[in-house]
Amino acid sequence: MSAGLTVAIPKGALFADSAAQLRAAGIDVPDDPGRRLELTAKDGTRVLLLRPTDVPAYVEFGAADCGIVGADVLWESAGSVCELADLGFGACRLVVAARRTDGYHEGAQLPTFLRVATKFERMAEAFFAERDLPVQLIKLHGSVELSPLVGLADLIVDLVATGNTLREHDLVVVDEIAASTARFIVNPVRFRAKYAAITELLAKLDPAVRA
């Protein structure tokens, strides 16, 4: 009965689990959608396959009724969407990390003015502001783990799932900022307009709601 809904899901790391969740809810999303950007499931549900960071905008402006996205993406998007359920998969942590050899994780004195490289500017800014630490944030778009190794930054703020990337670059966690998992989000007005369809899909997705 999710017919008539448009659901935005992320390509990339969360795609496989998102597709599996939708299939469990009776929406036949293929394992490998190839390069398709949208598809219509047999039950009539329209599925948009988006860059993860674009999912909140599609939902906020109503191009999609609802969507699946990591909490880490919501932290950095200022938009207003309703976060209806924690889907539990895609767990990762946002951490502050540094070179092991700098010893910051063992209490070594931080430089008075820190340079911090990150993709997560809002979260990093809030974290250091709360601690009254003056920092210069350096916005990067990828391979953040390289920046301390080449002297670009003293610290990085980045997502860690297994910790392998940090280990490979001899980086260690100095502090943990937040934990992230996949969330089911919905446009606040569409939730009212398509209440029955959205509630039914949500019940099939989220064990806590179904219980």
């Binding site: 402006f61 109503g62 909490a71 207003s80 309703c82 976060e83 209806l84 359920a85 924690d86 969330r183 919905v186 446009n187 606040p188 007005v189 939730f191 009212r192 307009a193 209440y195 509630t199 806590a208 709601v209 219980a211």
Partner: protein, 323 residues
């Protein structure tokens, strides 16, 4: 030559459409015997501040005139009407039925349906706390949107005391209650679940979280009634039952839903609250409710209920409809 953000010019054809909407509204207001009033577009900030509450006060354009007096451009019309009634009309026979169509100003991040200069149109029914007044207020809103051609608009209703009554069953201090209400209003269910965890019986917490995402009619009131711990909350639930019953008699009951997460962002609401929606647009078309504590702040002991809409939002909704 650039306009300030959130303002616009009106071309003749655009202004004709706007005037047509205003004229439909005026005829509905007249039909219900609401007399039109005006107040100054700007007035002393200290006269309005008492009524506005923090959220709207922060969005108010305030500047000093040459004498140094703090002047505000009105951000909405209910507070100026309350000030006006409590001074100029305090000896008038009650209830008073007043209407207005005037410009208003808010320092918003401009987006569709949210401009810094807009036209607010609405009704205030002053001097009665009755169920019939709440129903009349909602019925006039339904009739106005119907007359404008938005006959499939639907309306969410709530009562301001219900959420407080439900949260009163948990171990939350004032800050915790304010935080929980913000999460309920934004329907941030994940954070709400986390915030309420451990504040009471796990089953009660779960039921409250579910209530925050449930819309319906009598069944929602039944659930809310079981979770509510205050007399004011229970009275609020009874009031909504009354509104649903009267609305059914008047023929628009099927267009109503109870939604306890509907908490409007103006702090003066004390009772019945409602908003109207159309599926095409991502914002409320109209909204209002009961504000029994506003007039007393101006030294006039009278209850009141009213609603307003932004004419520009109606134009957007009608434009979408014809696409």
């Amino acid at each position: 030559m650039r306009l300030p953000p959130g303002t616009r010019d009106w071309l003749p054809a655009e202004l004709r459409r706007k005037r047509a909407v205003e004229s439909v509204l005026r005829s509905v207001f007249e039909h219900w015997a609401y007399d039109e009033v005006q107040t100054p577009n700007f007035e002393r900030f200290d006269a309005l501040e008492a009524g506005l509450g923090e959220t709207v006060a922060q969005k108010t354009f305030v500047f000093a005139d040459k004498s140094g007096t703090q002047i505000a451009l009105r951000p909405e019309m209910t507070t100026p009407v309350a000030r006006f009634v409590s001074t100029r009309l305090r000896d008038a026979p009650l209830p008073l039925r007043l209407s207005y169509i005037v410009p208003a100003y808010r320092y918003e991040d401009p987006q569709e349906g949210r401009m810094r200069e807009f036209t607010t149109a609405g009704l205030e029914l002053i001097g009665t706390e009755s169920l019939e007044a709440d129903v009349e207020s909602l019925a006039t809103a339904v009739e106005a949107l119907d007359a404008l051609g938005l006959r499939d608009a639907h309306y969410d209703i709530n009562h301001a005391a219900i959420v407080d009554g439900v949260l009163a069953g948990l171990e939350l201090d004032a800050t915790g209650i304010a935080h929980a209400k913000a999460l309920i209003s934004g329907r941030n269910i994940v954070a709400l679940r986390a915030r309420l965890a451990g504040t009471g019986d796990a089953r009660a917490v779960d039921a409250i979280v579910r209530l925050a995402m449930t819309r319906g009619r009598d069944e929602v009131l039944e659930i809310a009634g079981r979770l509510c711990h205050t007399d004011a909350g229970l009275a609020g639930i009874e009031r909504l039952r009354g509104v649903l019953a009267r609305a059914a008699e008047l023929g628009f009951g099927a267009r109503l839903n109870v939604d306890v997460s509907l908490l409007r962002d103006i702090e003066y609401y004390t009772g019945f609250i409602f908003e109207g929606f159309a599926d095409e647009v991502g914002f409320a078309l109209c909204g209002g409710g009961r504000y029994d504590s506003l007039l007393p702040r101006f030294g006039f002991a009278a209850g009141a209920v009213g609603w307003s809409l932004a004419v520009e939002r109606i134009l957007i909704a009608l434009e979408r409809r014809h696409q």
